[in-house]
Amino acid sequence: MIIDVNFVGLIIASIMASAVPLILASCGELITERSGVLNLGVEGMMIIGAISGFALMTVTGSLIIAVFGAMLAGVLISTIFAFLTQTLITNHVATGLALTIFGIGISAMIGKNFVGIPGKEFPVLFEGLKDTIPLLSPILFGHSIVFYFAFALPFITSYFLKKTKIGLIVRAVGDSPESASNQGINVRLVRYACILYGGAMCGLAGAYLSMIYTPQWIENMTGGRGWIALALVVFSTWNPIKILIGAMIFGGLTIIQFHMQAIGVRIPVQFLTALPYIVTIIVLVVISRDSRKIRLSTPSSLGKSFHKDN
């Protein structure tokens, strides 16, 4: 069997493309969770981003407005979550679920008039270099700017959390809101900011789906990617670099199942699709069994409300 090197390169590139929305949403959610907030609304924020991006692109014709508009829409919808959980001190789990259910519904309502409209072509970078290096060219060149941003984001996130003062504050708030508060840090403000940032990244992830990955609007088009992104944060044990690896594995499973079917490997598709969820559960069990490990990797106050009595 002769393997075409460029074909392998194309497969890897397609795996990377399917990993982009997962990386964006997971890195956003990771910051939110590092501040101690569990937002189960990822799927909802993504789908809002998807319809906002697509609608703005169709109405204004501007890709820049559309991309930033989608991020803004993610911010706006996550503001509801932030207001409820931080100001009105509601339960994170219930509020996040409400956000997802609401997001799927409202996006379908807004998207009613955008079904069946063809998308626009999104410009790609370095297209001229596409045939220069075998294997690597299709991987490195000819992608949208969002693609490159997504693959830089885990490193930026890691640097932010480890090396910057604000990153340290975010982690302090997530690990011990009480002591952070005693140090004069405004816990609520930090958590607000982290939730809105998560919203922006999920909005961008959604816009990538509806504007670049499959340029069209379909109801419920995020198709559970938000939940995978949530799983990915756990899978990574809240480490942004591992998100990159996880997203490639999770994204890869989707792509590989097409090719395995094509060459006639007899593994049920459903098994491969279920694998990310099963692997996540196993990872979760492994890290939680050792209470030391979970303390080292999980933000200690994750999902717990913090209210400073005044």
Binding site: A94, G105, I106, M109, W227, I278
Partner: protein, 354 residues
């Protein structure tokens, strides 16, 4: 000047008033959304909430949708009351449907009074098996039950998908992703000629009565309540926490499994890809809206069931997507959670000149 003051004790009256307030606010917000979309708000709300249940058929459909919601929410209230976050009822429902559907298929060419009880029991057991996974992982491996139960939802749906496409698909079914029809003996009897409401409603009502008894008349109910308030107190009191976690998950799984049985042996009559329009997730809203109280859950399941029907009518008469139902479901939960603030805090008018 208005100041926000913490209440000494959560207000009991407001506890039962806020769900009504939440529904009211949802209707207002819904009207505004319809207005923005270019519909007459009152007319749209009428199509959504009144037209669907205005006749005998509509009312039967309402009960049909409320039955699984009520059943699952009752089960969930056992978990939520004791601080266990089972959000995977949808998966437990699906797995219950798979197990009971498998049993029903064994008897596809047989009739007999004994078939239905076996099928129902199989569904409850299926739900329990599936709910035991997050429960056991939580008790013995300290694993977060929210994430595990959620991940398992997708796994169960994929198992179902695999079965109805592959090994269980109807051999005479032209490759449609569905199983054979169950025999009549494996179907829940209909209550009225020409209406779809079936005997599954009695399962839901039984669950309501039993849960009321357990919550308010047994030691277990008391233990659950204490653990819900404070896990530390429960530990001091010497309650066996692990046992209780597993028990509430099993109860909740059994209820969700029974809801799955109700769907496939009631209106559906076979297994196919979509045995539930997310009843398992929506039931979480029902449980909250019903204040985890058995009677409250009955009312809440009826209210939330309307959003399913309303979405269908609105799709036909107003050409708006059926997902609109979810907008209302999300908003109900938003407003309910928000108005819970009034439970713990109150607004106090203070003379600022002092």
């Amino acid at each position: 000047m208005i100041k926000i003051v913490k209440r000494d004790q959560p207000s009991k009256a407001i506890f039962f008033f806020t769900p009504v307030l939440a529904i009211f606010l949802t209707l207002i917000a819904g009207g505004i959304i319809f207005y923005i979309l270019g519909f007459k708000p009152f007319e749209a709300l009428k199509f959504f909430f009144i037209v669907p249940i205005a006749d005998k058929y509509g009312f039967s459909e309402l009960l049909l949708k409320a039955t699984p919601l009520c059943l699952i929410a009752i089960g969930l209230s056992f978990c939520f009351k004791s601080n266990n976050w089972n959000i995977g009822a949808e998966g437990q429902l699906t797995f219950g449907a798979i197990v009971s559907g498998g049993v029903a298929l064994l008897f596809y060419d047989q009739e007999g009074f004994y078939i239905l009880p076996i099928v129902i029991l199989a569904g409850a057991i299926g739900g329990m098996i599936y709910a035991s996974i997050p429960a056991i992982l939580k008790t013995y491996f300290n694993t977060n039950e929210i994430l595990v139960s959620l991940m398992l939802v997708y796994v169960s749906k994929l198992i179902l998908d695999y079965l109805v496409v592959g090994p269980w698909s109807n051999p005479e079914g032209f490759n449609f992703p569905e199983t054979r029809q169950f025999s009549d003996s494996a179907r829940l009897p209909l209550l009225f000629e020409g209406l779809r409401i079936h005997a599954g409603i009695f399962l839901a009502l039984a669950a309501v009565v039993i849960s009321w008894f357990v919550f308010y008349k047994t030691y277990l109910g008391f233990q659950m309540k204490v653990s819900g308030f404070s896990l530390k107190t429960a530990k001091y009191a010497g309650y066996k926490g692990k046992k209780m976690i597993i028990l509430v998950f099993l109860i909740s799984g059994a209820c969700a499994g029974l809801a799955g049985v109700g769907e496939i042996t009631g209106p559906i009559g076979q297994l196919h890809r979509e045995v539930s329009p997310d009843y398992g997730f929506t039931a979480i809203i029902v449980a909250f809206l019903g204040r985890l109280h058995p009677v409250g859950i009955i009312f809440a399941s009826l209210v939330v069931a309307i959003t399913y029907l309303g979405a269908e009518t609105a799709q036909i008469f107003m050409q708006i997507p059926k997902y609109t139902g979810q907008v209302f479901q999300g908003m109900i939960l938003f407003f309910l959670l928000a108005s819970d603030y009034l439970l713990f805090f109150k607004f106090k008018f203070i003379d600022s000149k002092k």
